[in-house]
């Protein structure tokens, strides 16, 4: 154990003197991801709020044909404007989100009690316009329903006759859960942070050591390769954990500034969230550090190792992607799968959903076992003759 500690402290000391590594570990890794994340969410949230509260500009062609409808729309926050000369072209080009066209025969049909038609011109593929389109649609819909009800009453018929079924929507999602769907990427950012934090050391302590020809002299010392490897893994994990810790702290602070409550959401980012996230992530950090070291041990040079590790970086995104494409119901076995367990646990923590101590334990234990197995494989690679030979 003493030899491992000697290796550990030497790697820590040497890498703390490398400005690029330190910046990656203490600044880029922990701050970049949460900050970008907060920025994106903030923009999205602010835009949603803006759209809902601001007056809705509605270019109308033939407004004079339906003065009552126009008055009704104005009353509900629509800002009636003149339509462009060629509405279809304007919408296709994105110059207008939508255009409402009221044909000349509208008034005639309305007076006769027939179905009067209005045209809503929009582009389904313009995501930006969707909120405006659905707002206008619901305004038109409710105007039509109200008028229909009044006509029935005028004829002595209850409006209920035409509405045999009424759906009352009762949304059971809690405020935290609604925000959870938006924050699905967060666990990935934590994992990515830890990955970036350990990367420099994983490369420097294996492929780097081989490239600068210092591995062979090191292995001539009377210390077993397993112990040397433990020291190196420890140093890599220590840097990765530092990055993770700073990342969680940065997010916990930045999360306070997110205007999520304006969307009727709430987040459970407190000390409890931070501590439990750290707990489930710890064994995963060792898994990642060991995987990185393993990949780098196969590389002959620094550059080769960087290529391998960049590819490896895509592995943690897999469960995040899978779970957004196939939103599975959370089941206990998921906690047993490294990466997925952390994903599920952190998501539920943030949404304020319960996670039992047994599930935390399962998540921790299974990742720890995975880390141990990857360590055994890496140690096997480390014992090979090929590893030591620099040339």
């Amino acid at each position: 154990m003493k030899s491992s500690l000697i290796v550990f402290w030497k790697e820590i000391r040497e890498n703390l003197r490398d400005r690029r590594t330190v910046i990656n570990t203490l600044l880029t890794g922990p701050l970049f991801a949460p900050l970008v994340f907060v920025l994106i969410i903030n923009t999205a949230v602010t835009r949603e709020i803006d759209k809902a509260e601001q007056p809705l500009p509605v270019p109308v062609a033939g407004a004079a044909n339906a003065p009552n409808l126009i008055a009704e729309l104005k009353q509900h926050g629509a800002l009636i404007k003149d339509a462009p000369a060629d509405p279809e072209h304007a919408v296709r080009e994105g110059d207008a989100d939508l255009v409402l066209r009221i044909p000349a025969d509208y008034a005639d049909a309305w007076r006769k009690g027939e179905s009067a038609q209005v045209e809503l011109i929009y582009d389904q593929s313009q995501r930006d316009a969707q909120a405006s389109v659905s707002r206008l649609e619901s305004l038109l819909e409710s105007y039509g329903q109200r008028t229909g009800a009044l006509r029935l009453i005028a004829r002595g018929i209850s409006p209920a006759v035409t509405r045999p079924l009424v759906v009352a929507a009762r949304d059971q999602s809690t405020a935290q859960a609604r925000s959870g769907t938006m924050f699905g990427m967060l666990p990935y950012f934590f994992i990515l942070g830890a990955f970036i934090g350990g990367m420099a050391l994983a490369i420097d302590t294996t492929a780097g050591e081989r490239e600068r020809q210092s591995l062979e002299p090191l292995l001539v010392n009377p210390v077993s390769r397993g112990k040397i490897l433990i020291g190196k893994l420890g140093a890599t994990s220590a840097f990765a954990v530092t990055t993770l810790l700073l990342s969680i702290i940065a997010f916990s602070i930045a999360g306070q500034f997110l205007p999520v409550e304006k969307l009727g959401m709430s987040l459970e980012i407190g000390p409890r969230f931070a501590l439990l996230t750290l707990f489930v992530m710890l064994p995963l950090v060792v898994v990642l550090a060991t995987l990185q070291t393993l990949a780098a041990a196969f590389a002959k040079s620094f550059r080769e190792a960087q290529t391998y590790l960049s590819l490896l970086m895509f592995v943690p995104v897999i469960p995040t992607l899978l779970m957004s494409v196939f939103p599975l119901k959370t089941q206990t076995w998921m906690y047993a799968v490294p990466l997925m367990g952390q994903q599920v646990a952190i998501m539920r923590l943030m949404r304020g959903d319960p996670v039992t101590p047994a599930q935390f334990g399962l998540c921790f234990a299974c990742s720890a076992v995975a880390a141990f197995f990857i360590y055994l494989i890496t140690a096997q690679v480390y014992r090979s003759e090929r590893l030591a030979i620099s040339a």
């Binding site: 002299p217 001539v220 009377p222 040339a391």
Partner: protein, 244 residues
């Protein structure tokens, strides 16, 4: 003392070392001479347990390297072919790291490192980061860290490789000093003048085999040549890979 008995190592179909035996005694400098690619480095790597021989034995002070490699490494001071330093550590810290790995306590470390820095005349560079060191300064640092645990047996793989004249001279003087301390010094070289000037015993290796194992004088007498150079050419059978 280092004893090598019928050592063999093959890489695929290539027999890099094919039955090498010799003895390097205490208080003597033994030179391993041979052309490039003769199997010198592979032989030495098996000696310091970096590689495992396919067959044969290595005994260091009577300890079998296959049985107790850690004990063997503790008795060896090795300057391998690869002599990279940690460039963000000072020369002293580089040496200190290996001293700790050798398990030396703090007072021993301090006295040994100070003694080596004085003996290798490197006081002016001891506390500089090794980035930007000259080849000679790098070799000095690598030797100091290899000998920090005061080993009885010293293995040097091409120690004067890449050194200028002055550095080569001081390296040779240092090796003689190691011999005078009563240590067993084994070094490899493809430079015959160096081997002739330094060695008590010369082991000539060609194509993975020992082709001669004599004192320099005996070697000249055996081949009936006046100069060592001619003797080597005669023994090896060609001039390929040798440098004067």
């Amino acid at each position: 003392m280092i004893e090598v008995k019928d050592l063999r190592k093959a890489f695929g179909a290539v027999k890099a070392v094919d039955g090498v035996s010799f003895v390097a005694r205490d208080g003597e400098i033994t030179g391993l001479l041979g052309p490039n690619g003769a199997g010198k480095t592979t032989t030495l790597r098996m000696l310091y347990t970096l590689m495992r021989p396919d067959a044969g034995h290595v005994l260091v002070d009577g300890i079998d390297a296959a049985v107790d490699p850690l004990a063997v490494r503790r008795r060896l001071g090795v300057l391998p072919d690869a002599r990279g330093l940690y460039k963000r550590l000072s020369a002293r810290e580089n040496i200190e790291y290996f001293a700790r790995l050798q398990g030396l306590d703090a007072p021993t470390r301090r006295s040994r490192i100070d003694a080596l820095i004085a003996a290798l005349d490197m006081a002016d560079i001891a506390d500089r980061h090794t980035e930007g060191f000259s080849q000679g300064q790098r070799v000095k640092t690598a030797i100091a860290r290899a000998l920090v645990h005061d080993p009885r047996n010293v293995i040097l793989d091409e120690p004067t490789n890449g050194l200028d004249v002055m550095a080569t001279r001081s390296m040779r003087a240092f090796m003689r000093k190691l011999k005078d301390d009563g240590r067993c010094v084994l070094f490899s070289s493809h430079i015959m003048q160096e081997v002739g000037a330094l060695c008590d015993r010369i082991v000539v290796i060609a194509h993975g085999r020992v082709v001669a194992d004599e004192s320099p004088d005996a070697l000249r007498a055996q081949t009936g040549t006046a100069s060592l150079e001619d003797a080597f050419v005669k023994i090896i059978g060609s001039e390929e890979g040798l440098a004067a």
